[in-house]
Symmetry: C2
């Protein structure tokens, strides 16, 4: 590695394996109940129907679908997306849609075309780790703004912006981007209120930044009415809207998209040329065929019921088994519940013991903070575990948390190295 | 665009649409004979057999293949690649293989983990435009080193390195990477000699840079014996080897790979997490199934015959129809012939007239130079055009070149704006 140490870029020093990604490895072990990965539930995939559509697509896989495709993605799918978004209050044309390898690639391309080292990006605190990595890989400086039950605290952001303008910041040191996941946020599960969406765009205009609205979970709403998209308040093309087929449909196809002003989309398409030339066409064609059959809409209705039931099961079990000093959010949709333990507890340090003693896993929340805070937080995903595991896993986690709290009160530190620590070391691996 | 001008990164000012990519649009027009796009010939795709395999993969598309996959790619395919490469003199394990969205993504990831703005990268002159974009997007400073019929002029490179060391360069200003396409290079068609491969690695050791060996065309050899891979001379893990299924098989699947030391591969996998989480699994599974059936090996044998015939047709037609002042390379494999026109001719400026007057298109060679040179060069791809079009297109191009040379001698500039210029403007579009 000596040779390469001298060859790595400055940005590479900041790159570390995502705790989540590493936690996925645990999820593969059948004897551990994992609430770590925010994967869609495989039991919800309409496998027979998808296989039938996929066979059809495969059978028609002519020379065109095996050849390089347009960098911007299949026009047919861009049309479908533009049509749907126009119906949702975001009028747009296919030329304003860029298809990407999941919306993660859209995050990477946005960072690539906008960020010079040290440029400031407003992020939610806690924020989506994939967004933080994408921007961090281009050496962003983060402005973490705390959330409450109504999402990003826009007043807090305004204060910060005014302070910066008043002289605490150099000229031009204001943020370039504000990155938000407005619906059923990952990791917190909270949703940005309508009023704050409007005010966020006003702030963006006043302080000259762009907004990146990342909405992978928006359609998975269990109750209440949908809030208007942040981009629906966009008067001058400063909001980039990111959507994904990975949560509602199939993550393995890697189909996401970004909507924005045509000139910005063209810039991102040029950046994509240098990044991977074009995306795979099979996944895009499969989505088009599924949409034509109405398969995705039908599927969406059924998964909403599945995930609502899973959320209810988890919330109910938490009420029953968690110590009363522990607090958590109540998501109206999506995949995640955010848990806050008493101050002083360290969820990352506890994880190996949770796995060793109770065979239950979670993501420690610190990974979602850019400022080293949040050691006493946990993200639980109810999306993937089978129903009976949710109840049993929460029972185990509750018992574990009670034991940890009793240990702390007694001033005792668990003795020795739990047998699984080595094995779990991967979870906190950093390069 | 005013708003966004202030938000774009420095690197974005350098991004421009690839002349090649734009030239693809011409290829779609049925009335123009295009030698522009370096696409594999669609007539070579074993469509029935692929469709059969794809149907099988689709039928088995269970929950796993629709779910997020490992960032590093399917282990099964990594094994197959490691096994093959070991047989080709590059001993490696699956852990040293990272699957990417075509090898273009490998170029992007290498740039991402190694390049700080201003870092020097040795490139071939002329060099592959996708590599130049990938490195350019991370603000590389290029060291273009000329080619001759035996590929990169390694002696010239050595002089340049010694000069730099002797004080013409700041300390640490030596190059970090040397990017080469050693077999049937894009765009020149030339192949790096065995002796130079060995010496290139020696120089890399002596001057502390890494080598990026990009080999998409190596298997498509028409005659002569294969040269050992540059990486086969690699004693200390400083050569990254890039392979692709896009030329031998199917570009639309987006399956490429990079082989390197495990620690570097892990860094690139972390960078890939922030870039797109993982690649699509369908394409990878399809390749695995095709490999198991031996379909790709059989396919390779048949396409070698097809492309050899196309090369022969083009070379023969060039001998017959091109003016004697024009020179060209003789590729032993791959897709490309490189044409040098007399000094003073400007292939980019001529292109709209070639299309308007003769309905024939090429890529003007200047795009492959990082130093603004090469205006009198042309890349011709024989890979995609049907046989009869090759003969007819070269006849037309020959007639056009003769006319252009006569015009130059007569001191005449073609009058007015050819009717197609507007339409072809896209070809030279820069942002």
């Amino acid at each position: 590695m000596g040779l390469w140490e001298g060859l790595f870029a400055a940005r590479t020093q900041r790159m570390k394996a995502s705790d989540i990604r590493e936690a996925f490895k645990l999820a593969e072990r059948g004897d551990i109940i994992s609430f770590a990965g925010g994967f869609p539930s495989p039991e919800t995939f309409p496998l027979d129907e998808v296989a039938e559509v996929a066979e059809g697509v495969a059978r028609q896989m002519g020379a065109t679908s095996l050849q390089y495709g347009p960098t911007e993605g299949l026009y047919e799918l861009r049309e479908l997306i533009a049509h749907r978004m126009t119906g949702e209050g975001v009028p747009c044309r296919p030329e304003e849609v860029l298809l990407t390898n999941g919306s993660q690639q859209a995050l990477d391309l946005i960072a690539k075309v906008t960020l010079d080292p040290g440029d400031a990006v407003i992020v939610e605190k806690p924020g989506y780790i994939g967004g933080i990595s994408a921007f961090g890989n281009y050496e962003a400086a983060f402005w973490p703004i705390p959330l409450d039950d109504d999402g990003l605290q826009v007043s807090f952001l305004e204060e910060r912006l005014l302070e910066n303008r008043a002289g605490n910041g150099r000229p031009g040191s204001g943020p370039k981007l504000c990155y938000v996941v407005p619906n059923f946020q990952n990791p917190s599960g909270v949703t940005l209120s309508e009023e704050r969406r409007r005010r966020l765009v006003e702030l963006a205009v006043r302080f000259g930044f762009a907004v990146v609205e990342d909405n992978p979970y928006g359609e998975i709403r269990f109750e209440g009415s949908p809030r208007p998209h942040v981009k629906s308040f966009d008067g001058d093309g400063r909001v980039l809207y990111l959507g994904s087929y990975s949560k509602v449909a199939f993550p393995g196809l890697r189909v996401g998209y970004v909507i924005g002003p045509e000139d910005v989309i063209r810039k991102m398409a040029i950046a994509k040329q240098g990044t991977d030339l074009c995306s795979n066409t099979f996944g895009q064609k499969l989505i088009v065929e599924c949409e034509k059959r109405g398969l995705l809409q039908r599927h969406l209705r059924s998964i909403i019921d599945v995930y609502r039931r899973k959320r209810d099961l988890m919330i109910e079990a938490m009420g029953e088994h968690f110590p009363k000093e522990v607090h958590w959010t109540y998501p109206e949709g999506g995949f995640f519940i955010w848990v806050t333990l008493p101050e002083g507890m360290d969820a990352k340090e506890m994880l190996p013991r949770a796995v060793a003693e109770e065979r239950v896993a979670y993501v420690s929340g610190g990974a979602f903070f850019t400022d080293g805070s949040g050691p006493n937080t946990i993200r639980l995903a109810y999306s993937q575990a089978p129903d009976e595991w949710i109840v049993e896993g929460i029972r185990r986690l509750g018992a574990f948390l009670k034991r940890e709290m009793a240990r702390r009160k007694a001033g005792a530190r668990p003795a020795g190295k739990p047998p699984l620590e080595q094995e779990i070391g991967e979870l906190s691996r950093t390069f």
